[in-house]
């Protein structure tokens, strides 16, 4: 494999890791506050559909992004209502959201656009276009560094950079602010937060809302940046891979970045089985590479690579008791 191919693979890794990372950080906020969210998948899908639909109709991708975030937040609100206000089962609520999104997106897409459950192809301002960072052209011919800067670092859509900036921001919010301290506390021991005179319900809804925003961006990225339009089931299990990455990352923001890059790289490899064959000398089934994230997660959960301890109050509705 030559240097150019490697750069191509890494470039694909970044593009494929972006939606995983956004969804993973979304899950991180929610689960750190004690609300397990298996509905990342459904929220991404809903956001992907609505962002593409609105971008197609208005021709403005930023309006599409807002619409996508809105769709995801509506589903988040449902999840919050079910699991915080009504103290329901968080897994069931999440699964229901996934089914709801899978069905509704196709039905509404068919009813609005009559293109077999798709949205029209997006182009021009209807989708996010790559931006070229300063000096990318100038540095292009510098050996090694030039191509890395031009191919790998520059030339992505704005959402990629937003996703990566979200990592230090998430870390800072969680570990350096009052809100972060309370959010982590409410996922570990909500009674401690309650007796300290802080509202458990407000904190958990805030976390679920942040989760909705991030999932919304992830979904919009799928339909308006990675692809040019919505197709049925286009989230393709990324919500679940993001959950796997979250466990892999032990609920920590920087580890989440590394885990998502790793899983993104595996996805990039699955797309380029010809390159893999060239390197290792025999053909590997692409589907085998697709399941690698899950296999790695199972290995983590089995305790081979250290212990992943979820937030202690995760999954349990808060009920006052003596």
């Amino acid at each position: 494999m030559d240097f150019g191919t490697l750069l191509q693979m890494l470039d694909a890794t970044v593009r494929l890791a972006t939606p995983l990372l956004l969804a993973c950080l979304a899950g991180l906020f929610s689960e750190r506050a004690g609300i397990f969210d298996i509905g990342l998948e459904g929220k991404m899908l809903a956001a992907a559909f609505l962002s593409a639909a609105i971008a197609a109709v208005t021709g403005n991708v930023w309006l599409g992004l807002l619409a996508g975030i809105g769709a995801s937040m509506v589903l988040s609100a449902i999840h919050g209502l079910a699991s915080i206000t009504f103290r329901g089962n968080q897994l069931i609520s999440g699964v229901a959201i996934n089914f709801l999104a899978a069905g509704l997106t196709v039905v509404i897409a068919q009813s609005w656009f009559r293109q077999g459950g798709r949205t029209p192809q997006l182009s021009g301002d209807g989708r996010f276009n790559p931006i070229t960072l300063p000096f990318a052209e100038a540095l292009r011919d510098v050996p090694i560094i030039g191509p890395i800067y031009y191919e790998l670092i520059s030339g992505h859509t704005p959402l990629v950079y937003i996703a990566i900036l979200m990592v230090p921001l998430t870390w800072w919010v969680l570990f350096r602010t009052r809100f972060g301290l309370r959010l982590r506390a409410v996922g570990e021991n909500p009674a401690a937060v309650d007796t300290a005179g802080v509202s458990v319900i407000f904190l958990r809804f805030s976390a679920v809302a942040i989760c909705g925003v991030l999932c919304g961006i992830a979904g919009a990225y799928l339909a308006t940046a990675l692809q040019a339009g919505f197709v049925k089931d286009m989230s393709a299990g990324r919500g679940y891979i993001a959950l796997a990455a979250l466990i892999f990352a032990k609920w920590r923001p920087w580890y989440a970045l590394y885990a998502c890059l790793l899983f993104g790289f595996l996805q990039a490899m699955a797309l380029r089985s010809d390159v893999i064959e060239g390197v290792i000398g025999f053909a590997v089934n692409g589907q085998l590479l697709d399941v690698l994230p899950y296999i790695l997660t199972v290995i983590i959960l089995a305790g081979f690579v250290g212990k992943a301890i979820p937030p202690r109050a995760g999954g349990a509705p808060y009920v006052k008791e003596r």
């Binding site: 570990f175 350096r176 602010t177 009052r178 809100f179 972060g180 301290l181 309370r182 982590r184 506390a185 570990e188 021991n189 009674a191 401690a192 937060v193 309650d194 007796t195 300290a196 005179g197 802080v198 202690r312 006052k320 003596r322």
Partner: protein, 512 residues
């Protein structure tokens, strides 16, 4: 002369949970700068009353006055603002946060953490010097002992400028030395003019530290008296509503043959922690061996091995027969077949199935017995119920209804169901862990009598309890466990709480 307004005055507080009236028209005055005890049996409504004062529950009726001012306390925020701090029985700490983060949580100065943490660090240092409340600010809660965790809870309240401190059963988890330390802290706080409300069911603590004591029974406040004017016997009677025997009445033990012989027992748990270290002891027929120790020093694992649900190395003989400690015969069923009865420490998780009926719970473990079977396939439920009615009568289980779920009974009656099941199988050796944890004084008396009666029938009894008083009054011989080892054996009449307390803290008195 003007009268000082009470720090707290409650007028006509009532609170019901569904059909249960937890607090009935309760009025109480707590004077500033005093330690006011509230004593009562489990379920008497003490904790409910204090949770109302702390804004955790809302009262159905009644008024709260703080320093003479009528105050509404709809939530904990309002209670904190009114200068009330509460240390709950089960600590409300975030386990994987540092001490400092726990103190600051909910009382941060601003949106950013750093300045708040810095101020808290300075404040903790001055509070530590003032009240003997020393803690390590950077230690994680899960890595410090319960004594320090409790001090963190007190610091949390003081950091929020609390003038009134409520402590709910604060000594339940402490060693005697730690309890003494706590009482010194409370004395210091009182000297600084703080008002302290101490909820407990231990008469000794009330007599030792309080100025005034209020007694609750079945949701009602039955009396408020100056501590110097009362006696433990009087308080016990006020709590239960009848005369109570505080000491266990028992004849000297008629010690027989060795029933249980434990030699060089070692237990390593699933996390690889060495829990029981080279423990050897005997229990003879007709005697009660009490194992004292702070919870978590290997007693639970010892009971689990003997009961057949934890593996071990070493040797255990019962009536001279070697037990299988690791193989196919190291399970509860085989242990019961050898004549070992087991009343586990955690009756709600290990002793009973809470959602199942009382009659089902009275046969668990013995349900293969021929007399409970109609044929090879079917249980004889009618016979089991009949049997349960008899057990309930003999063990005074109330209400005597075999069709109620185990969870519908009070702690004391749940324990009687377990005791009935195990004792009536006529075991040679009875293992009994924390026999009276969460059990009312009246039921404690009954349970103790049953244990002594079994001993007098010539059975061997291994008693594990964290209540030193219970160990001292029931045991014929006492072994103290610390860090998985037996620190020493004592005869109850030749030792006292102080010496046992030292052993429980790992200090050997042998050398001295």
């Amino acid at each position: 002369m003007t009268e000082v307004a009470p720090a707290i005055e409650l007028k006509g507080i009532s609170k019901a949970f569904g059909p249960v009236q937890a607090n009935k028209d309760i009025s109480i005055r707590v004077m500033p700068g005093t330690i006011h005890g509230i004593i009562g049996e489990n379920g008497a409504g003490k904790s409910t009353l204090m949770s109302i004062l702390y804004g955790f529950y809302k009262a159905d009726a009644g008024e709260i006055y703080i320093s003479g001012q009528k105050t509404a306390i709809p939530d904990s925020q309002a209670a904190i603002a009114a200068g009330i701090g509460m240390v709950f029985q089960h600590f409300k700490l975030v386990e994987n946060f540092t001490v400092l983060e726990n103190v600051v949580l909910g009382a941060e100065d601003s949106g950013l953490l750093r300045p708040s943490l810095a101020r808290a660090r300075r404040e903790l240092k001055s509070l530590a010097d003032e009240y003997e409340l020393n803690v390590d600010p950077d230690a994680l809660i899960e890595e410090v002992g319960v004594g320090m965790q409790q001090r963190v809870e007190i610091l949390k309240a003081l950091y929020r400028k609390a003038d009134i401190l409520i402590l709910d059963e604060p000594t339940g988890v402490l060693t005697p030395a730690e309890a003494d330390h706590l009482f010194r802290i409370l004395e210091n706080l009182k000297r600084e003019g703080k008002t302290i409300i101490l909820i407990t069911h231990k008469l000794r603590e009330i007599m030792e530290i309080t100025d005034t004591v209020s007694v609750m029974r079945r949701g009602e406040m039955t009396a408020t008296v100056k501590t110097v004017d009362t006696s433990p016997a009087e308080l016990a009677e006020l709590m239960v509503g009848r005369k109570v025997l505080l000491r266990v009445d028992k004849a000297p033990a008629q010690v027989g043959e060795k029933t249980l012989e434990v030699t060089n027992l070692n237990v390593t748990d699933s996390k690889g922690v060495h829990r029981v270290k080279d423990v050897s002891f005997d229990v003879h027929a007709g005697e009660i061996l009490g194992i004292a120790g702070v919870a978590g020093n290997g007693q639970s694992e010892l009971l689990e091995v003997l009961g057949g649900y934890e593996k071990a190395t070493g040797s255990i003989r019962i009536n001279g027969e070697e037990l299988d400690l690791t193989g196919a015969k190291s399970d509860g069923q085989s242990r019961r077949a050898k004549g070992i009865g087991h009343v586990p420490e955690d009756r709600q998780r290990e002793g009973l199935i809470m959602d199942f009926h009382a009659w089902e719970n009275t046969v668990f473990g013995y349900h293969h017995d021929a007399r409970y079977q109609r044929s090879r396939l079917f249980m004889d439920n009618a016979a089991i119920k009949e049997d349960t009615i008899g057990k309930m009568a003999r063990f005074d289980v109330r209400p005597p209804d075999p069709n109620l779920a185990a969870k519908s009974f009070s702690g004391g009656n749940q324990q009687k169901i377990v005791l009935a099941r195990e004792i009536e199988r006529n075991p040679d050796l009875l293992l009994i862990g924390q026999p009276t944890r969460g059990v009312d004084i009246g039921a404690i008396e009954f349970i103790h009598q049953q244990i002594v009666a079994l001993r007098d029938q010539g059975k061997a009894i291994l008693l594990v309890s964290v209540e030193l008083e219970e160990i001292l009054s029931l045991s014929d011989r006492i072994a103290v466990m610390f860090d998985g080892k037996i620190m020493g054996e004592r005869m109850p009449l030749q030792t006292d709480e102080k010496e046992l307390g030292l052993l429980m803290a790992g200090m050997s008195t042998e050398a001295a």
